[in-house]
Amino acid sequence: MLTSLWQGKTLPVLAVCAALAVLWYAGSIWLNADMQRDAFANAGRTDYSFTDLVAGTWSQERPKLPTPGQILVELNKTVIDTAPTSKRSLVYHGSVTVSATLLGFLIGSILGMGLAVLVVHVKSLDRSLMPWVVASQTIPIIALAPMVVVIMNQFDVTGLIPKAIIAAYLSFFPVTVGMVKGLRSPDPLQLDLMRTYSANRLQTFLKLRVPASIPFLFASLKVAVAASLVGTVVAELTKSEDGGFGARLLAGSYYGQTIQIWAALFAAAACAWVLVSLVGLADRVVTRAMGARP
């Protein structure tokens, strides 16, 4: 029974989680102890035991490092106990972030695929466009996001779109790179075969290059959807009036609500995990239909 669990995923994953939790709780004691001693001193308490100190560091209202337990309590409160329509609900903020993420992912993926097709088929674009594509990713998104929001605002484009564009800016890159590699993946033999049939470029593209690129595309889409979420959160730091995880992070850091920050981070990570898993699921369904070995 135990050995079979070890051979599976369950126990190793649990063991790693437990180890992390232990380290985390220890870290909470270490980082929050000074503040707790000050708090005891201010209250005139000197006779506190080590147990009191530890209990204190684990239950502060604004700890430097909240414990996983505190974060879970906050998540429970803001996800389950708060009405999803409330501005204090993480479900509300999550839906804001995820909708911008999905729109950005859609724009980014289409843009990325389009660029890849151009780069593969037009030789001069391979030389002229690719360096710009790479350069675009060297600009810190955190610097670019406010400018995009301001410029968009100038053209009365507000709400979801500016955030989606920033998300798309981050997510098109892996799609372009992966898709270019995928479209170029057919080996000379597979290309020669098309030539012996006198297939035209469009036929070679549709019947060979596109199907060959699908596994590469899905690998890129997984990276892209996560990047899109990061882009949206960064955009929300700039454009916090609409809410979203970014706005929640910003508000948390204004008011020193570390538990709120961590809860938002965990919720964002969970959303990213779900999105990546969904792309992974689509990957499996599509590649299975395309004859991949089970």
Partner: protein
């Protein structure tokens, strides 16, 4: 040439040369190759690695461009012949597209050439029957053995009914027993369909067993060393390999290969 008067040439080359320019200087892949292949013949190109046999096949298929000399396929340039879909090509590897089922792989040239859906289905069915793969239509390539995959690729090359079949060491990667079996099948196919076949190999028994004409090539530069006519009956079986006639021809091929070998392995 040595064939009967009614034979019409399908492939004619004269003084065909091809030189690849590489970083280490020019490589003479083909040098003054003159060859006539008549309708209905089964011609094997045999020779050691680097003798240009695959290159010659690729020139015929318009996959390489000759640097000198002339070549015509049915009186056309290889380019025109390729555009007219005059030949089916079987590569060393099956080159089946892994995302297509066997049936869809056989239908690939038909889709590209614009055959109707019904026509495609009918031709796929016939093709599968021809190479004895009926029932495997819905399987993906990885579910088939190497020999079955290569048979599927032969069905694919024949699906649009070209008069000329170009085969580049199609059974090179298969074991002896499977190879023997497929050789017999190819022979039956040739007998049944009356195609002209150009077959690249480096196996002497394979060449002698299959061919009406064996072209022995020698390397550096790649050129024709000897052309051996071979007149076994069309309905021959593997048993002929025991006959003295077969052994004589095989010996002549072996000797030709030895003479052409300009280096020692």
């Amino acid at each position: 040439m040595a064939q009967s008067g009614s034979a019409s040439p399908v492939i004619e080359t004269s003084d065909l040369s091809l030189t690849f320019e590489t970083g280490d200087g020019p490589v003479h892949a083909l040098s003054e190759v003159s060859l006539t292949i008549n309708k209905g013949e089964f011609v094997s190109l045999i020779g050691p690695s680097g003798c240009g046999k695959t290159t010659l096949l690729r020139v015929i298929a318009d996959l390489e461009q000759p640097t000198d000399g002339t070549i015509s396929i049915n009186g056309m340039s290889p380019h025109e012949a390729r555009l007219k879909r005059a030949y089916g090509y079987v590569f060393q590897a099956p080159a089946l597209y892994p995302w297509r089922t066997i049936g869809k792989n056989i239908a690939l040239p038909l889709e590209i050439m614009g055959f109707s859906k019904e026509e495609r289905a009918e031709r796929v069915r016939k093709g599968l029957e021809l190479v004895q793969l009926t029932g495997f239509e819905k399987k993906f390539p990885w579910q088939l053995s190497g020999g079955m995959q290569q048979r599927a690729s032969i069905a694919r090359a024949l699906s649009f009914d070209p008069d000329l079949l170009l085969m580049d060491e199609p059974f090179g990667a298969l074991d002896e027993i499977v190879r023997d079996k497929l050789n017999e099948q190819v022979l039956r196919l040739w007998e049944k369909t009356q195609k002209t076949v150009v077959f690249v190999t480096h196996s002497i028994p394979e060449a002698v067993f299959l061919s009406t004409k064996i072209v022995v090539m020698s390397p550096r530069p790649g050129k024709i060393h000897d052309v051996i006519e071979c007149h076994f009956p069309r309905d021959r079986t593997l048993d002929i390999r025991e006959t003295s006639e077969f052994i004589d021809v095989a010996n002549r091929v072996r000797q030709g290969l030895r003479e052409g070998h300009s280096y020692v392995d």
